[in-house]
């Protein structure tokens, strides 16, 4: 392709994508399809004309939809024709299937069969006969029931050919009956009632618009497909745009659903734009895509409804339009103006669709080709899109179908609506979007026996929070007490939760009050559970909310150490004030800046006040175990400027220490082992993250989960805490194609996916926290990045840093990821993130997962190392942080050691005697045997790499470093067992056991 034709940065990728997903109509495919279709025709021909079809074919189904007269004599279909996207040449992988329209013969139906579900029952019985004969065909592998857009009263048959072609796995033919000319269209008008059972009351009969639409759809299916075909067949760009739109929709499971968008409706919308000349022949597919998104997101036409014209005029009167608008939330009337093609669309689905389209437009606004990944390649499923996901297990719940399966609408759709209404009333403005989707069909549905098994799948609810301030609001104020009518309604909805309150402004109103622990922030969970229990007859166990399942990893016992943060900040304020007030030092302290993550709420375990560290100096009574280790928090001090500093580096350090000592006479002592540049970068990072944390309340909790995950999979050495903070920050400052996460699980999942899916080899991750990077800055970053990937051509592992994290204070990615992770470590990290992300997605969306599964996200398999060192958990400085005591059942035990008695992580009762000064001496600041052990090992050995958890794991993984041939000949011969003994020796008193799993691989 020529460069000139591809000036738009995304065009190349888009054209490549089209190549990837388009299906070319090769002889192999057409042959397969034709063979299958003729096999179906063959099977139909074998059905003897005129056999009696009765209820006995499917008594359950007929009873459940409530049809009365259903007997008919079988006649062959009037026509069998291929339709759908296959006929329009618009198939997008991976869904390769062919629609086959089977026109039902008029002879099988009576004039009045549009009444009381007779049509639906006969349609189904007709299919039952087909199924019987198809099953006996040798060319057919299997025949299954499915539904037409999740509509249970309109099942279709899926026919899988016996012959398999490798290029088209899972290809099937959908047998869809159509009802052309069967009924008088006027009888199926929206205002008419066609289900007599619905008007027993004696009042004016209720109209049945959805039931009528369901039949009209079948009547005009062929015509509408023909119309679409005409638009698409001669227009390659439009077809390609349709495929792009399909790819876009396929990635978004929340809009590609029965009550929102489907392939057919996308094609309809596109052809609407084509008819009204909003798109034209000179446009490229991507331009058409953009126009379509813009149309969906912001066109005013939606409020009136879309009407196709015929010979440049629309034959729908104003009154009819009004009626359509009243009956359906979204109206797309076909060119015959009898049918709203979007009659299944619900308003919440449509709002969601508009929002997604708006987000896609936002992505397209971004410069360069980043948008491509966001729009077409990123999976946006329920679990990552919504802040809260809830599953309702309604299997066998009799309330769902209490008044029959099929009324005007089907009971499952009505139930969806009911749940949606309850939640939107309960959550009011706390929620931005509430999506309720209940997919009823599964592949082995046994439709003949009725519809009662369609409730096996859980109902899925997704909730996006509008803003955290609203979400965590404690009091909901209802109507004034004077407004009796409203107040009564309020009381009816909220039950005993409603209470009359007098507010500060003197108002007396109904209200509800919700309390939640300050740091847990799961207030929404309580509301949802309350309203669902109040209004649906459900037991608590059937409501599965994905909210707090991962909190266990952040707790100390039962409380979240985050709850001490207020006192921590107060202590810091006091300290910095005192530091700045010190008079008797040569240079005054000019500023005090916190460096430790605990000050910016991103530490997994911020320290809790130590009982012995109080200023009063009294010895507390022994209530709980008192830790003997104290975790220091780093603070940066800046002194007044002076020209008298020595030039020599060592001398600078010493002078600094002298200053600290002087300061320490009044307060604290600390050694500063850092060079100034590092200190500067840390200061910058700290203040930036602190600012970000102030904007996004959920940032801190997500970082904490992410850090805990990194550590518990023994990656503490590979990915430093600051790097994790930046990765998570990226999710918040550049959330597209999502919006910034408002719950910890959604945020955590997106973190895992970022780690797993980002193209680390070829792209730098630019984290623009304050949104202040200029194009020049960005160019500088790319200029720094490019040389770091030069070596990749020769050797894929020869890139450093393998994870390029650029920020405004560090444009060359030198601060955090310069040495680690290296490319091998990153590979492992990515693999772990991917499997954790997949597990988490499954946990959110699927049932049948025991409580153990959530823990698996933080329980690392010990079999993936060459050797495993287990430590004495009782000798870790903070044993309460250990998530799971490790046990290795792999490999063989080579070393076994006892715990040293010289160190205890807790104060013994005997230690507590004596005055507080002595006690304070017994406390150990920043003593961490794990880090000392690791340091010693790294000093003594260079034949292996260590994987450990600095947050409190009791296992260390060990992998042999593969050596280059020729070098270190002496080292190669070393006996691994001997090495491991040495390893145990170094950790005497700390190592519990060492297991040997794999010998080093020698590269020869």
């Amino acid at each position: 392709m020529d460069v000139d034709t591809l000036m738009e940065p995304m065009d190349l990728k888009v054209s490549e994508l089209l190549k990837e997903v388009q299906v070319d109509y090769s002889p192999a495919l057409t042959e397969l399809v034709d063979d299958t279709v003729s096999a179906i025709k063959e099977a139909i021909n074998q059905i003897p004309e005129g056999i009696e079809v009765t209820v006995d074919e499917a008594p359950g189904f007929v009873k459940d939809i409530g049809a009365d007269k259903v007997e008919f004599k079988f006649k062959k279909p009037k026509s069998v024709e291929i339709g759908g996207s296959y006929s329009m040449k618009c198939i997008a992988k991976p869904d390769i299937n062919v629609d086959l329209f089977i026109q039902l013969p008029k002879e099988c139906f009576h004039e009045k069969d549009y009444l009381n579900y007779r049509y639906h029952a006969k349609r189904f019985l007709y299919l039952c006969i087909l199924k019987k004969f198809l099953k006996s065909s040798s060319l057919v592998h299997k025949v299954e029931w499915s539904s037409f857009h999740n509509e249970a009263r309109k099942p279709v048959l899926l026919v899988y050919p016996a012959r398999k072609v490798v290029e088209f796995p899972g290809l099937f033919v959908r047998v869809i009956p159509t009802a052309k000319f069967l009924f008088n269209v006027a009888k199926l008008d929206m205002k008419r009632n066609n289900i007599r059972a619905l008007n027993q009351e004696g009042n004016t009969p209720l109209p049945t618009p959805r039931y009528n639409s369901s039949m009209l759809e079948d009547m005009f299916l062929e015509d509408n497909t023909e119309f679409l075909k005409k638009t698409f067949l001669g227009w390659r760009e439009l077809r390609e745009a349709l495929i792009l739109l399909k790819v876009w929709a396929q990635q978004r499971s929340s809009i590609y659903a029965h009550d929102c968008l489907n392939e057919f409706l996308i094609a309809v919308i596109l052809s609407y734009l084509a008819t009204y000349e909003k798109v034209n022949n000179s446009m490229k597919p991507l331009q058409i895509f953009r126009v379509t998104m813009d149309f969906i997101a912001s066109s005013k036409s939606w409020s009136q409804g879309l009407y196709f014209w015929q010979q440049r005029e629309v034959k729908v009167s104003k009154e009819e339009r009004l009626l359509y608008k009243e009956t359906f939330p979204v109206v797309i009337c076909d060119s015959y103006a009898h049918l709203n093609l979007a009659f299944r669309m619900k308003s919440n689905g449509f709002l969601e669709l508009q929002d997604e389209a708006a987000l896609a437009l936002k992505c397209l606004e971004k410069s360069g080709d980043v948008a491509f990944e966001d729009i077409f390649m990123t999976k946006i499923d329920f679990s990552s899109k919504f802040d809260y996901c809830i599953r309702l297990n309604l299997k066998g719940n009799s309330k769902v179908c209490a008044s029959g399966f099929c009324l005007d609408d089907e009971c499952w759709r009505l139930y969806e609506q009911k749940v949606h209404n309850i939640l939107s009333q309960g959550l009011s403005d706390r929620a931005k979007f509430i999506r309720v989707i209940w997919r009823n069909f599964h592949s082995d549905c046994d439709m003949e026996n009725g519809l009662s098994t369609l409730d096996t799948e859980p109902l899925l609810i997704g909730i996006s929070v509008s803003s955290l301030e609203k979400a965590f609001r404690v009091v909901d104020i209802g109507p004034n007490a004077d407004n009796k009518e409203e107040a009564l309604k309020f009381r009816k909805f909220w039950g005993e939760k409603a209470e009359l309150r007098r507010f500060r402004d003197g108002k007396i109103a109904e209200s509800t009050v919700w309390e939640s622990e300050q740091w847990a922030k799961h207030l929404i969970l309580k509301i949802i559970e309350y309203v669902l229990l109040q209004h649906l007859s459900l037991s608590k166990t059937n409501i599965l909310q994905v909210v707090d399942q991962l909190d266990f990893s952040l707790l100390h016992g039962v409380e979240d150490p985050m709850s001490f943060s207020a006192s921590l900040l107060a202590a810091f304020e006091l300290l910095s004030k005192r530091l700045r007030c010190i008079e008797d030092i040569p240079l005054k302290v000019s500023s005090v800046q916190p460096l430790d993550p605990a000050f910016r709420f991103t530490s997994v375990f911020p320290p809790r006040p130590h009982p012995l560290a109080s200023e009063k100096g009294h010895v507390p009574k022994l209530r709980k175990l008192i830790s003997s280790c104290i975790q220091p928090l780093e603070v940066m001090i800046q002194l007044e400027g002076s020209g008298n500093w020595p030039m020599d580096e060592v001398a600078i350090e010493k002078t600094k220490s002298a200053f600290l000592l002087k300061i320490g006479e009044s307060d604290i002592v600390k050694r500063v082992p850092f060079v100034d540049k590092k200190l500067f970068v840390r200061g910058q990072h700290s203040s930036m993250i602190n600012g970000l944390q102030g904007i996004y309340q959920m940032y801190g909790p997500v970082v904490r989960l992410a850090k805990r995950w990194v550590a518990s999979h023994l990656f503490s050495d590979c990915l430093v805490e600051e790097a994790v903070e930046l990765l998570v920050a990226h999710l918040f400052v550049k959330p597209l194609p999502f919006t910034a996460p408002c719950s910890r699980i959604a945020g955590f999942l997106r973190f895992l996916r970022l780690l797993a899916d980002y193209d680390w080899t070829f792209s730098p991750l630019v984290v623009d926290i304050n949104n202040d990077l200029t194009p020049i800055d960005k160019k500088e970053i790319y200029d720094n990045f490019t040389p770091s990937r030069k070596g990749h051509e020769e050797n894929a592992q020869n890139i450093s840093p393998s994870m390029f994290l650029a920020t405004s204070y560090d444009k060359a990615s030198e601060a955090w990821t310069r040495f680690a992770p290296n490319s091998l470590e990153l590979k492992r990290l990515v693999a772990y993130a991917r499997s954790s992300a997949n597990l988490l997605t499954r946990l959110v969306l699927e049932d049948q997962t025991g409580p153990l599964k959530w823990e698996c996200l933080f329980r690392t398999p010990l079999s993936n190392y060459d050797a495993v060192i287990l430590l004495h958990a009782g000798r870790l400085p903070y044993p309460q942080r250990l998530l799971f005591p490790s046990n290795s059942n792999q490999g063989r035990l080579v070393v076994h050691g006892n715990a040293s008695k010289a160190f205890q992580p807790f104060m013994l009762p005997g230690d507590l005697r004596g005055n507080s000064e002595e006690l304070k001496h017994k406390l150990m600041v920043n003593f961490d045997p794990l880090m000392s052990y690791v340091a010693d090992l790294q000093k003594e050995f260079n034949t292996f790499k260590l994987w450990y958890d600095s947050l409190g794991g009791d296992a260390i993984g060990l992998t042999w470093e593969t050596k280059k041939r020729g070098r270190d000949e002496a080292g190669e011969g070393e006996d691994p067992i001997k090495v491991l003994k040495g390893v145990g020796e170094v950790g005497k008193g700390f190592v519990r056991s060492v297991y040997f799993l794999k010998a080093p691989r020698l590269m020869k």
Binding site: Q251, V895, S900, Y933, D936, K978, G989, F990
Partner: protein, 282 residues
Amino acid sequence: MGNLKEKLEEEKKKKKKSEKAKKTNAELFQKKVMLKKEEKQNENIKTTGKKKRRREKENNVNADKVEGEKNKNKPRKKKRKGEEKNNALVGKSVQQDGYEEQNGKSKKPNRKKKEHHTLKKGETIPEKIEEAVEDGAYYISSGEDCSKGMRKWLTEYRQSRPGLKVLQQWIDQFITAHEEKLEQERNEREARVAEDGWTVVVHHKGRKKTTDSQSGITVGSVAPAVAESQLTKKKHKEIGPDFYRVQKREAQRNEILAIQSKFEQDRKRIQQLRAAGKFQPY
């Protein structure tokens, strides 16, 4: 190690047991049973003296004789162990050879540590475990040794915190030494220069001379920051980058080249992704 009492008690127990064992030496059948017991008890014992070990060894040797030649490895191993234990500190590398040979690669026996064992094969296993435990016990008994492990780290920790006074002393000493060193260096330098017959020009305090007294030309140095800012100011007066048509054309060409290279890069990348099966939106 404050558990002398424990040690003593354990030793007493052991003596009793070994005495018992001796008594039962006479009867072959009974002895077997007793040995089993003893092995179990040995598991619990973590501190052992040299003397006892020898005694144990003798016992084991006897037992082995009785048991026949089923376990050839065992006596050899035991012997070696006894010898090596005499070398005090070795400890860790002890007995592993035998352990390896026997234990093979199965992990299950390890896990059965404290379970009952009825199989003959199983009889050897608790002993191995016992050794492993003793192996650990060895660290405890050498607790005075501060060269490795937990005690070393504790010592290091304490040494790194000598207290404020000592720290101040160290720093004072360093600073004094450092200053002396600097002073000395300067003196030496001056002395060296003086030897060459040149006079040292001593820096005078006061206003810096920036103009030559005779010509009136500015001499002294200019601050680099000032110089740079002046330089950039000058640059601004130069012709803009798109003044001449040639420049514009060149810029355009560069841009196209950049786009071209990016295009090629993208294409390569997509090929790679496709080869890896990652260029699929599903």
